[in-house]
Symmetry: C2
Subunit: 715 residues, 2 copies
């Protein structure tokens, strides 16, 4: 059996798991008529939003596809379309399951906490396995077609470009979906809270609030569909760029290259299996809900260790043999092999690669642990924010900002150590394999994350349908851990981007040498155009964050005015005698989110092109390439910190509020609680709109640069 | 007359201006006995704090001096001590005038707005001229001594090291003073507001508030003394590194080098004169107060243009002649001249340098304009925050954060364009001269800034002494523009750091080649240790910001508890029958600020050393140098954005509150106003503690790296 067929089987197993588990889920009771009514309204809103979002993206996508067809040819264009469509499919199917699992989770929570947990987590697992499975399938099928029927060598330029274009398709959808979904969910959430909780004094998820359905729709289109697109993109980019790097950098005969390029695919396949096994380990037992979820995570992570060993051994055979022979990564390039990056490790063994994979697993585990520390209610950071709430809104926000700044330190150190260790073991290829092993856990990580919006919705449905208090208590307990699991996924995605940055930059420099062998580009830090590129790259996450935050603020303001208008025009709403117009609010948020997502999403697509052409006009082509390359690293150097601080800080603010609601510092309704609600509101767009969208933004900047090189060289 | 004697005369003129203006100021009426009483309490507190701060810094300074004496010799150590002592003197004298001008400003404001404006601005001008004058004198005297009686060539290693050590002395004081003063002022301010305005419901500066004197002391030790130390450091580093770069990079005979190295000194001298003339242009006329201050700024900036031309012409003679001859910046280095940076402009003329100076002036003017846009009440950003306050605390903070992120964009673009233009004109030397022309305006810029705390204090004294309402109205009007002028200085300081970064890095790489000619360091972005250095450098401003924010939060909390305790133990305070114990609060804040400043201040001193030794242990000396060099740029790439966003955002929040207090969105006491107060509180440590301290932090990291190289090479 070939590596590619193993990968395809792995991908199919994931899709099959999704299909079977979906059937099981849909077989659960969807509750009474009132619950089904509410769930139908959420389904309708989510479907309508995603429909319009995908239509808008399709317009942009078609325009991009036309440009690609002209500049890069049909192969890249086809790969681009595959990446885009499958990313959309993963998000859409995940959302479709999620909006059906919510009501079933609420119904199951009537009976037991375990029932609710299982329903919600299984729904998340469907999304998780689809993300990993479809991602793996897309790469494997493309690679199989091109090297098999297509008859190309594994390191043919066409394969490199097709894999890059596939990643571009996934990234383009991802940036729009992350940002559009993020704006939708937080505009609805913040707007509903401001006008409901703060002004009208009605509880969260009260059916009299006209924004309540929009809020629940937002959980699905933002935290489920948007997140799924993001992780699909991260998965495809990471595995793809690992294969591309092997093709570009490793000096070996085609058969050996074929094997080595298949290894990331096999890693993806075996980890899908360990993730599926892990999902069955999620059980309550005597521990906490978080503990139950962690059981699943740890089971799949620990099972991955032997699985990765076996996979590596099976693909590479003798793990102590040098890969690529003596000439591997040698500076003397021949027709087949491109110049290696200066400074790459001279050679490595299969065992070295296995150690690099363990580095990737260790990074994943450490990021989970650090995120838990910074966002969990049991530790200093969240407690310090809760304590600061006692002296008011201002000190709550000051402490939250302090924690958000601080939360960047440990993940950065972990990434730095991982880069150094993996590089010492196997050069840039080692870093690529560390990132691949990290992303191979995506099925499980996405499952943990996509569980969140389901429980959030379940709570909303329980409230709106007037289910007994203990049901709401159960869904609240399930929901509480969602803040941490959501923060974990974002730290994980951005952490992998930190690892992948050097690999992407390596691909850029190697491409540059291939396409423009006569241009000598000075990437040294003493070249001022490198500084210019670093500064402009570093600016992107700030500008992008500003757009995201402003969009949420503006759209939330529109929601407030819409809801105030409904209350004013129809006094029966507050009296509970007439039904608010939920659809109008959903529609308003839909239009706002679509409108606001376009300009910031195009920022990372157009900036690299603009920087290249402007600097080239001023200082020549070589400096144009230098500034563009530096921009790619500038965007990660600054984006890593912006994203980590926003996502961790936001999670900490949210849980500080929950910690106070648990009866600390005066509990619900106290002055400290009001201050904590302010912090939570501030954290919302931080953690769910601006912060997470930085990850696809970094990737898309890099991939656009790679495609620009190919286009400039004439396709 | 030599360039050095012109510089010394310029420096003496500035000091003389300071002495005469101080005498004029002290000749004004200090008001009635009650006012003098209050002023005496502020003087006492400020003196006590600065005394303890300088004692603590002295302990650190002596330890550092001992290390320097052992590793770098007596010359560097002496220069270090001179830089440290003069920085302390500038801050101390400025503060001494400021705490005497405050009460005189309040008294003068009894008669007229112009009277108050003149008193406050003249006080600021004393500080401004002392900063520029002492800075210029310290460099000029050192350079004169070493090239004259010392008999050294202008590009002798001893001179390079002595100038670097002088800058280090200034920087070390600066980081402690900026951070300690920043923590003091904001802990007192936030604490006083929280417990006074929010809890007890008494107005700002109410004499019943035990923290009110501490708050007023804070203005002087933070916004005056701390700021003065910061700008002194920026001045000395910028002029010093320009001279060092000429010594390291320009290939010319000693006499020519001596002239060219004297040019930055002459620029400093002539701009002191134009700044002094500018101070007399500050008059109210029919325009606004801001307009009156701008008159002074524009007068000195416009006068600088011909002055710079004349100075350049006088120093260099024929402005169209190539400087340094054919071999200038040639790669073939000889014994006298060091390897130039690759990519530097091949040669330049005096006229090119003059254009670079105009670039520096343009950057200054644009940063003033951009800062005015982002923090002035007449424009979209502040208005948008005020509008967002209508929907609550949360949306105020969200919009403020959005503005703070956005505010980084235009200054970054200005800096990028300036780097490119100056570099095209005259290579790295061109960038250095742009930065020098920028810093030559320091006298005027510091005057505008140091004016702020005086008016702030004057308002406090007017309130506490029960002066008529119209006096308080006048001081409030004077104070309102202080937010913008303070933000301007910070943008100016960090902007110049952005320009200087490349120059400092150039000095680092050149030093490296001199001291370690056998070590080939790969500064390319494809070296992973470069990425490691960039990431670790980028982390520093975040970690530093976290420390600063946490320190303010913690110290402010302590103030709240102290004040609550005084109210509880002595009910006569609120009744107005007994005097609160102001001294105890001042003492508490003093101890807290001193304690909290130490660890974060040592962070940028020790981090470069740690990074070098750790990376060297793992990956060899060359990679240690690469990581250290990259760290220097990482800290500016991230620090520029952190500092710009914090200082602009903080200013915008503050003025959004003032805009609402002017009667917009419901005015004082409305819900929008309460939300705006929260934003202002959040902005306080952003703009006055964490943000501004990033500038000295960047410099100190760079200078420590330069000294480390010298020390490693054996002095």
């Amino acid at each position: 059996m070939t590596t590619v067929s193993v990968a395809m089987i792995g991908g199919l197993i994931a899709v099959l798991y999704g299909a079977i588990t979906s059937r099981q889920l849909l077989g659960l009771s969807p509750g009474d008529a009132r619950m089904q009514d509410i769930a139908a309204a959420i389904q309708e809103g989510a479907k309508a939003y995603l429909g319009r979002q995908y239509t808008t993206i399709a317009i942009v996508g078609v325009a991009v596809a036309v440009v690609m067809a002209v500049t890069l040819g049909w192969l890249s264009t086809t790969a681009f379309v595959i990446g885009a469509v499958l990313s959309g499919v993963a998000g859409f199917v995940g959302m479709t399951i999620s909006v059906r699992a919510n009501v079933r989770t609420a119904e199951a929570a009537r009976t037991s906490l375990q029932g609710g947990l299982t329903a919600a987590f299984r729904s998340g697992a469907v999304t998780g396995m689809l993300v990993a499975g479809l991602g793996l399938l897309s790469i494997a099928v493309l690679f199989w077609y091109l090297t098999g029927p297509g008859g190309r060598l594994p390191n043919d330029r066409g394969i490199v470009e097709a894999l890059t274009a596939l990643a571009f398709g996934a990234s383009l959808i991802s940036i729009f979906a992350r940002l559009g979904g993020g704006i939708f969910t937080k505009a609805a959430d913040v707007g509903a809270d401001l006008v409901g909780k703060v002004e009208a004094g009605i509880p969260e998820d009260d059916p009299r609030n006209p924004a309540v359905i929009a809020d629940n729709v937002g959980d699905n289109v933002g935290d489920c569909a948007g997140m799924a697109a993001d992780l699909f993109e991260t998965y495809v980019v990471t595995l793809g760029v690992t294969m591309v790097s092997i093709a570009l950098l490793v000096r070996a005969d085609p058969a050996e290259l074929m094997q080595l390029m298949g290894l990331p695919l096999v890693i993806g396949a075996v980890c899908i299996v360990t993730s599926i096994i892990g999902t069955y380990a999620v059980r309550l037992g005597r521990g906490s809900i978080m503990g139950a979820l962690y059981k699943g995570f740890w089971a799949s992570a620990l099972l991955s260790i032997p699985a990765l060993y076996v996979a590596t051994r099976w693909v590479l055979g003798d793990l102590s043999a040098m890969i690529g022979g003596a000439g591997f990564l040698d500076a003397g390039a021949d027709a087949l092999t491109l110049d290696p990056d200066p400074g790459s490790a001279a050679s490595f063994t299969g065992m070295d690669l296995f150690w690099c994979m363990l580095v990737g697993l260790a990074v994943t585990a450490l990021i989970v642990w650090i995120t838990e520390y910074y966002t969990g209610t049991a530790y200093r950071p969240v407690k310090s924010i809760a304590k600061a709430s006692e002296t008011g809104h201002g000190t709550n926000v000051i402490q939250g900002l302090a924690i958000s700044l601080e939360a960047t330190a440990l993940p950065t150190l972990v990434i730095v150590v991982a880069v150094v260790v993996a590089y010492q073991l196997a050069g840039i290829i080692g870093i690529a394999f560390a990132a691949t092993a990290m992303l191979a856990q995506a099925g499980m990580v996405v499952a943990l994350d996509a569980y969140g919006p389901v429980t959030d919705n379940a709570g909303g449905i329980a409230e709106m349908a007037g289910l007994p208090d203990e049901v709401r208590e159960r869904t609240d307990a399930l929901d509480a851990v969602g803040n941490t699991t959501k923060a974990v996924t974002k730290g994980y995605a951005i952490g992998s981007a930190g690892l992948a940055a050097l690999v992407l930059f390596g691909a850029y420099t190697t491409d540059l040498r291939t396409y423009f062998p006569d241009v000598t580009v000075d990437f040294s830090l003493s070249n001022p155009y490198v500084i210019v590129g670093l500064l402009l790259g570093a600016l992107l996450p700030y500008l992008f964050g500003a757009f995201g935050m402003t969009a949420v603020g503006r759209a939330a303001g529109a929601v407030v005015e819409e809801v105030r208008g409904q209350f004013r025009d129809n006094p029966g709403i507050m009296a509970g005698t007439s039904r608010p117009n939920y659809g109008r609010t959903v529609d308003l948020v839909t239009r706002a989110a679509i409108r606001e997502m376009i300009v910031p999403s195009l920022l990372p697509v157009l900036s690299p092109i603009a920087v290249y052409f402007i600097v080239r006009a001023v200082a020549g082509q070589a400096n144009g390439f230098a500034a563009l390359g530096a921009m790619l690293l500038g965007v990660i150097v600054s984006g890593l910190f912006v994203a980590l601080s926003m996502t961790s800080g936001g999670g900490a603010w949210d849980n500080a509020k929950k910690y106070i609601e648990d009866g600390n510092h005066g509990g619900k309704g106290s002055e400290a609680h009001k201050a904590a609600v302010t912090g939570d509101t501030v954290g919302d767009p931080y953690k769910d709109t601006a912060g997470p969208a930085v990850n696809p933004m970094i990737k898309i900047t890099n991939i656009v640069a790679l495609l620009l090189l190919a286009a400039l060289a004439g396709g």
